[in-house]
């Protein structure tokens, strides 16, 4: 039998924040918060900093090295042409090409990493916890904890509009 989670509904994110703070202080296992927009206070309490920027730096550096290698191979080794007596290996114009390819590759690879990590992609079936989650309501989802009744009490005390148990 699938496990049931405690789901608390909040219309007011101020109250949600209060509840979230209390749950964090009491080391309650949280799963996620679903809501219509990103609230930075909730994000700070719930999530850690994304590591996506580190991946972007790696992609960017790889793109720089590979593009330079490609340009060197094509312009110096495979097909060296002298344009108006200019040197075969001319770094300054390469910078422009490297710059654009770096941005292009980093953009594509970062987006793909986002898809892979967040597990979202075009055509993915949607299963919102409630249709109002993309409108004006927040839902706090908690894992099974040793003291569910006490947690429900806290949530109601902190102003949850509704506390239920649901399979997520």
């Amino acid at each position: 039998m699938a496990q049931k989670n405690i789901v608390a509904k909040f219309k007011d994110e101020g109250k949600l924040l209060k509840a979230l703070t209390r749950l964090k202080e009491n080391k309650v296992n949280l799963i996620d918060v679903y809501g219509p927009f990103a609230n930075h206070d909730i994000l700070k309490l719930l999530t850690r900093e994304s590591r996506l920027p580190y991946m972007s730096v790696i992609f960017g550096l790889a793109a720089i090295v590979l593009t330079f290698g490609f340009l060197y191979y094509t312009s110096v080794i495979d097909y060296p042409i002298s344009y108006g007596g200019k040197p075969i290996f001319s770094f300054p114009p390469m910078v422009v090409v490297i710059f654009f390819i770096c941005i292009l590759v980093t953009t594509i690879m970062t987006v793909l990493t986002f898809h892979a990590r967040a597990k979202i992609f075009p055509g993915k079936p949607s299963s919102p916890i409630d249709p109002s989650v993309t409108d004006d309501t927040f839902f706090l989802v908690l894992d099974q904890n040793y003291n569910p009744e006490e947690i429900k009490g806290w949530l109601q005390e902190d102003g949850a509009d509704e506390v239920t148990e649901k399979e997520i």
């Binding site: 927009f37 990103a38 719930l46 312009s75 941005i103 992609f121 055509g123």
Partner: protein, 448 residues
């Protein structure tokens, strides 16, 4: 009224999240008004004229254009630069507001980005057709081929291809990823199966998870950070198409920054035009307040001064260089000769008219704002005309001097791009939320 203690209220009317959703999705969820159908009809007529011109350019060849041996770049490149300039504002809006933490951009960035995407598409059409055989356009891509050739990596024309394709991809990515949470809102409110399926497909199964929001925000910041230097470099590259040549009037180091400022300037003017029209059409003045328009007008005033300074510097440097050809181009051909009418229209529209925005009353008068935004776009077109035609038509050898005038095919392609732009924007406002709903909600709370 919801207001930050240090800023002007950016969303007026004390709205709940649900009010915001209802008001901002109204244009998508109600039947379009008569003006929408009139606009689409007009856009389709423009498209039909453009399609004929496109057909002529391919079936007969670019001999149908008004180009000559001397003026080998004419309306096509003028309009390319004009559109790409307009295409700068959208991404510039998003990224500079992101970088400078300016939240008032939240009301404008979605539409500005849509404008960017359609403007860059219009711009890309011109060099593509100018190749003469657009079906051979892939020749410019560096790939191992049977001709055993590589492209010339040192050419600004190749850089242009890279810059514009990267910019188009980046603009579409920023635009699309920004709207995912709003597409999910539309999916959850869809009243029929087709809408639910289409919005469901494009909203990528978005469920409002804060963990996903965290990654989504990080991705947006990374894309913004990558797009910032890209925006600056794209128009720099377009300027280098001219600046690396030796023609008088083109061969100047000021061209890249001058082009960049001109691009932002014309793009912001077009944003102002569109925002005023949308504000009027959809009654969304609580989200796009007069203060938003006032702020855009201030940017235009500043841009106008920079543009005016660039014009003055160009003329000064031409005189200071002591080069007869440069002096002739600026003092004779442009300021007092064959192209003087276009030159002074340019100066008036870009450097003088926007100075009216020194007055607060003008910045808050919708009629003046609208008129000046149109004047700037006309002026920026003339700027590109002056740069392109005056330098090419009267260069070093008087024996090669020629007159230039566009043909019906030239005009048709330009009109056709207006068709793409008008139809694209109308479809956008019909099917996609015109303002970033989730950002407005978040920002409304942040500023409360």
């Amino acid at each position: 009224m919801i207001a930050s203690s240090i800023r002007w209220p950016m969303v007026t009317g004390d709205k709940s999240s649900q009010d915001i959703t209802n008001e901002l999705l109204a244009p998508n969820e109600t039947k379009p008004a008569l003006w929408w159908y009139i606009g689409m009809t007009l856009g389709t007529i423009f498209l039909a004229y453009g399609a004929w011109a496109f057909y002529m350019s391919i079936a007969v060849g670019i001999g149908t254009w008004g180009l000559t041996n001397s003026v080998a770049w004419g309306w096509d490149i003028i309009n390319f630069v004009w559109w790409i300039g307009i295409g700068h504002a959208g991404t510039a809006f998003t990224i500079f507001f992101l970088v400078f933490r300016q939240k008032w951009g939240a009301s404008i960035n979605r539409t500005a980005e849509a404008m960017t995407v359609f403007a860059v598409l219009c711009a890309a059409l011109f060099p593509l057709l100018h190749m003469g055989r657009p079906w051979m356009a892939f020749f410019i891509m560096p790939y191992p081929n049977t001709r055993l050739l590589w492209v010339n990596f040192n050419s600004p024309l190749f850089w242009d291809v890279l810059a514009i394709s990267t910019y188009l991809l980046m603009s579409i990515t920023l635009w699309y990823f920004g709207m995912i949470p709003d597409l999910a809102t539309m999916r959850d409110r869809a009243k029929n199966k087709v809408s639910r399926a289409v919005y469901g497909f494009f909203s990528m199964g978005w469920n409002g998870s804060m963990i996903s929001f965290n990654r989504h925000e990080t991705l947006t910041k990374i894309l913004g950070g990558l797009a910032a230097p890209l925006v600056i470099s794209v128009h720099t590259i377009v300027a280098l198409d001219f600046a690396v040549s030796i023609l008088p009037g083109w061969h100047a180091t000021i061209l890249p920054p001058y082009f960049f400022v001109g691009a932002i300037f014309s793009g912001f003017a077009m944003v102002l035009t569109i925002m005023i029209l949308m504000r009027k059409a959809f009654k969304i003045s609580d989200f796009i307040t007069t203060q938003h328009l006032d702020s855009i007008a201030k940017v235009l005033k500043y841009g106008s001064m920079v543009i005016g300074l660039a014009y003055a510097i160009e003329i000064f440097i031409a005189w200071y260089s002591g080069v007869d050809y440069e002096i002739y181009t600026f003092f004779n051909a442009r300021a007092t000769g064959t192209f003087s009418t276009a030159f002074w229209i340019m100066v008036f529209c870009n450097a003088i008219a926007p100075q009216i925005f020194w007055f607060k009353k003008a910045r808050r008068n919708i009629a003046i704002l609208f008129a000046v935004s149109i004047i700037i776009n006309i002026g920026m077109w003339f700027e590109r005309y002056i740069i392109m035609i005056s330098s090419l038509a009267q260069d070093f050898l008087p024996s090669s001097w020629t007159a230039y005038s566009p043909t019906l095919v030239d005009i048709g392609i330009y009109v056709g791009t207006f068709g793409i732009f008008i139809c694209g924007m109308l479809l956008f406002i019909r099917y996609i939320p015109i303002i970033a709903i989730n950002e407005i909600k978040a920002f409304r709370k942040d500023s409360n």
